[in-house]
């Protein structure tokens, strides 16, 4: 028996002390924040005034309405598409792909308004906000975050 073994006892002592300490203080859940975009009235008016009158179709005033049977996408007063609910609830993957198509048509648009009824649970609202903010797209086999419409304002629809 060649005595070339390293004496691990002090190291073990350290680990045995450190591991429970870190386990106790570990934070596995992280508090994050979802910022709500406030449409500034002056900025909105300025944008409305500065809008080139000849090309209103270039503007996207995206409204996402959470209705009973599904989610409505509209550009101002013009209805764009309707994402019907499945038996499991709102079809968020379909909503995400519809929004990705919209984003590719209007690459510069980054604002959206989510209108929901007063009875919509907060959890559903956050899930729709998530789908509106960003999507995970697969490009060449790699998954990438794709920012859609990060500036979201909230509103109520009767």
């Amino acid at each position: 028996m060649g005595s070339t073994d390293i004496d691990l006892t002090p190291y073990m002592n350290l680990l045995v002390v450190l591991a429970p300490f870190l386990l106790v203080t570990a934070v596995f859940e992280r508090l994050a924040a979802l910022e709500i975009y406030l449409p500034q009235p002056t900025a909105a008016e300025a944008a409305a005034g500065a809008k080139p009158p000849g090309k209103p179709e270039d503007q996207l005033l995206l409204t996402i309405s959470i209705a009973d049977q599904g989610i409505l996408l509209a550009n101002g007063a013009q209805l764009l598409s309707f994402v019907p609910s499945t038996s499991a609830g709102y079809d968020l993957p379909a909503l995400s792909s519809a929004l990705q198509q919209l984003k590719s048509r209007y690459p510069t648009a980054d604002t959206a308004a989510i209108l929901s009824k007063g009875t919509v649970p907060y959890e559903t609202l956050v899930a729709v906000m998530d789908a509106t903010r960003e999507a995970l797209v697969t490009v060449d086999g790699q998954k990438k975050r794709y920012i859609l419409f990060p500036n979201i304002s909230l509103g109520e629809v009767q």
Binding site: L8, L15, A19, V27, M129, L136
Partner: protein
């Protein structure tokens, strides 16, 4: 005299090596400690663990800042740990403004502005974080948000738990 020679033979031939194989245990502990150190947050947990507060999950990457927090559980509304009112009476009225919350928020705004006047580098931004239970209806959230913006807290963040985008 018989025991003497027997002891001596045991000592000479029977050297039983009693080493524990600690390598795997050390590996385990090292990995665990490194993982925990990597996740270690000096700020500690800022997630309130109220009785009826289950935050929704979101994929947002933005970190929550330490601001004034309004906590909306299914039964009560809290401002910075103090109970302000119950949600039942708030939901009964059609009025968007919550008067009790407005009063307290006005006081918070005044205090925030006073501190901001002492430190010119940090102006009063009116940031507020709303921690809402995931089952509360949007109507209630809307009322709280309206009251916050009425009380000069215009920069509203919704507090959520981080989850990975899948």
């Amino acid at each position: 005299m018989k025991s003497g020679p027997r002891l001596s033979t045991r000592r000479s031939t029977g050297t039983v090596s009693t080493f524990l194989t600690l390598t795997s245990l050390v590996d385990l502990f090292t990995n665990l400690v490194l993982f925990l150190l990597y996740n270690f947050s000096a700020e500690g947990s800022t997630i309130p663990s109220a009785e009826r507060l289950k935050l929704p999950q979101s994929v947002t990457e933005q970190r929550a800042e330490t601001t004034v927090t309004v906590m909306v559980t299914q039964s009560d509304i809290f401002l910075g740990g103090r109970r302000i009112t119950d949600t039942g009476s708030v939901m009964k009225t059609d009025e968007l403004l919550i008067p009790d919350l407005k009063k307290e928020l006005d006081f918070e705004a005044k205090r925030g502005k006073y501190f901001a006047s002492l430190t010119p580098d940090t102006p009063f931004e009116g940031r507020i974080t709303i921690l809402g239970d995931k089952h509360i209806p949007f109507r209630l959230l809307e009322k709280v948000m309206f009251t916050c913006s009425e009380a000069e807290f215009g920069q509203i963040d919704l507090g959520v738990l981080h989850k990975e985008l899948t």
